[in-house]
Amino acid sequence: MNEAISINNLTVGYHWENGFSIVIKDFNLDIPNGIIFGIAGESGSGKSTLAQAIYHSLKYPGEITSGKVIYNGIDLLKTPKNELRRMRAMDLTFIPQAAMNALNPVKRIGDQFNDVLEAHGKNFAEFQHDIIDVLNMVRLGSEVLNNYPHELSGGMRQRTVIAMALVLSPNLVILDEPTTGLDVLVEHDILVDLKKIQRKKQLTMIMITHDLSILYEISDQIAMMYAGEITEYGDRDTMLMSPAHPYNYLLLKSIPRIGVKKYDGIKLTGNPTNFNEGNKGCQFISRCPFKTYDCEINHPVLEKEKDRTHYFRCIRYPEWMKEQG
């Protein structure tokens, strides 16, 4: 099997004061083994929800209403709670958003490592070597084991979290905005480290972030999400050089880069939107400068471009490219 994980028809939503609202609808995605797969999306696109849903760690008021997440041939969503618990950190792992606060403030780092090992029936002494290994991999010394989280800087805490998630050598790592809130220099270093670890251990990493720049920097394949749907996905270079969906194209254009003073032509306007159940047509329609009447009527499906592993969800490709010029 080539897929590390495959997501079938996943539908997720949230309970709130006025009822239940769907955030992700009928989501399908196969993620290949041994690569860094990036999922990008702005606020409201449902990317964090997706990350938690894949890991089956979504909590109330979130609820998964249907779908499957197949990992190693088993559906994670149907796995008994205790079985799933055992798989976590051993087979697949999750590095959370706001990792600054992900460590228990009242315990030493060493004890927290110990807790993780204990939960999986492992012995601290046996694994001491692995712990130091994994700490070194994220450029930390073993002395952090004696520290409390508040004694470390933000970057160090993030590295600790990564080390802790990787200590039991899982195959699949889900990273949910792992560098948000970190300093630019630290962010860069951590990305480099992550990539190194991935390459060295041949892991599959699913990296989820709103920051397109870093996603393109690190990923092998990329999926763009908009309002609970994938708009486009494919190899990093394809996505970068020849985007097939207007959203991807416009977003890339609007990223400020050193040396690029201003950009001309059609701009991405409006605000990111949530999944809109009433919208029969394209979810991107409210912001798309190339929309036609067809876009309002037909919900576009993910299409595959000829000869390439490049999927997109736009009925007007490649016409809009021509309009754009």
């Binding site: 959370p96 228990n104 807790d115 004694e151």
Partner: protein, 338 residues
């Protein structure tokens, strides 16, 4: 930007606050009784006069006045310094209502009983309440949670002294399971012997139980409300994502929720002391509460001041211990004050 500091600093800071509050309370203690009407020397003199059938001379009144240090001719600050000086020499004066017993002697007999009640009540209700609150918080929005919530709210809402009377009625008067009063049975001898200890604990069951029942609610609801946001906190999520076992997660959530709840200790000690003072008279328990009521009725300044002082010191020391304990339990506090 992080400056690591030693807990000594934290302890020192607590100590300064402690001393500040202590002096404030001391001054309040000096001022309050003097705001109250009446002259203790005259009260004592009149009592003695009646008892002696009117054969006591008036000159004795002046002797009494000087004994109580409340001469009307001395300026107030002079009295204040005399008061402080006496305090530091352990001299709390002579009780009026139990003339001529020194206040220190009365406190020596009464305070241990009150402390015994307060310490047992606070520790037990702290442990039980936090456990119940944890249980309710973890089983949030279930029937168990609702039952525990409603029970603790209702207990907190019931007038404590009425509950005490009902307990007394049900368990002692009709049930005859527990004694109707006293701190130990009159048939045992006071001392460090087993019958005495058993008797003392047995007599404490009802008063302590009542205080626990009424003060439990605060802990339960506090713990519940602390643990609920904790259950959704980043570190709990991360721990779950790392596949930690349920009991590990619960203990992490509990420990982190416990720390803010510990700061409620100061309130709780104050409340429990209040509860004990009221219930001592109901359960005929020979602690400071009993003396307090007598002292107020008889305008017994020295005794009142002594009781006040002891209770405040006890509460402050309790707080100090909790604060220092907190400093060791919560590593984050060590860098407080940035």
């Amino acid at each position: 930007m992080i400056i690591t500091a030693i807990p000594i600093k934290y302890i020192l800071k607590r100590l300064t606050i402690f001393i500040g509050v202590f002096f404030g309370a001391l001054t309040l203690n000096f001022v309050l009784p003097r705001l109250m009407p009446g002259d203790p020397a005259e009260v004592v003199y009149e009592d003695l006069l009646k008892d002696s059938g009117g054969t006591l001379n008036v000159t004795y009144l002046h002797q009494l006045e000087s004994e109580y240090g409340i001469s009307t001719t001395k300026p107030i600050w002079d009295q204040y310094f005399t008061y402080l000086n006496d305090l530091f020499h352990g001299n709390l004066g002579i009780s009026i209502s139990f003339y001529p017993t020194p206040v220190s002697k009365i406190l020596e007999e009464a305070l241990p009983w009150t402390l015994f009640l307060v310490i047992s009540a606070v520790t037990i209700s702290f442990f039980v309440g936090n456990r119940l609150g944890r249980y309710a918080g973890i089983n949030r929005n279930t029937g168990k949670d609702l039952a525990i919530d409603l029970f603790s709210m209702f207990m907190a809402a019931f007038p404590a002294f009425v509950l005490a009377f009902i307990m007394l009625d049900v368990f002692s008067v009709y049930g005859k399971l527990f004694p109707i009063g006293g701190a130990y049975s009159s048939s045992v001898n006071m001392g460090f012997n087993i019958p005495f200890i058993i008797s003392a604990m047995y007599h404490a069951v009802l008063p302590v139980g009542t205080i626990i029942l009424t003060s439990l609610g605060g802990w339960v609801l506090g713990m519940r409300n602390n643990i609920i946001p904790n259950v959704n906190s980043d570190y709990i999520n991360f721990s779950q994502n790392l596949g930690m076992k349920d009991y590990q997660i619960k203990s992490i959530a509990y420990r982190n929720a416990l720390l803010p709840n510990l700061t409620g200790f100061s309130m709780s000690i104050g409340l429990s002391v209040s509860g004990v003072i009221i219930e001592e008279s109901i359960f005929s328990y020979p602690g400071v509460g009993m003396y307090m009521i007598t002292a107020i009725d008889n305008l017994d300044y020295p005794l009142l001041q002594g009781i006040f002082l002891m209770v405040i010191i006890a509460v402050l020391v309790g707080n100090l211990i909790v604060d220092i304990l907190l400093g060791f339990l919560d590593p984050r506090i060590k860098q407080e004050g940035e």
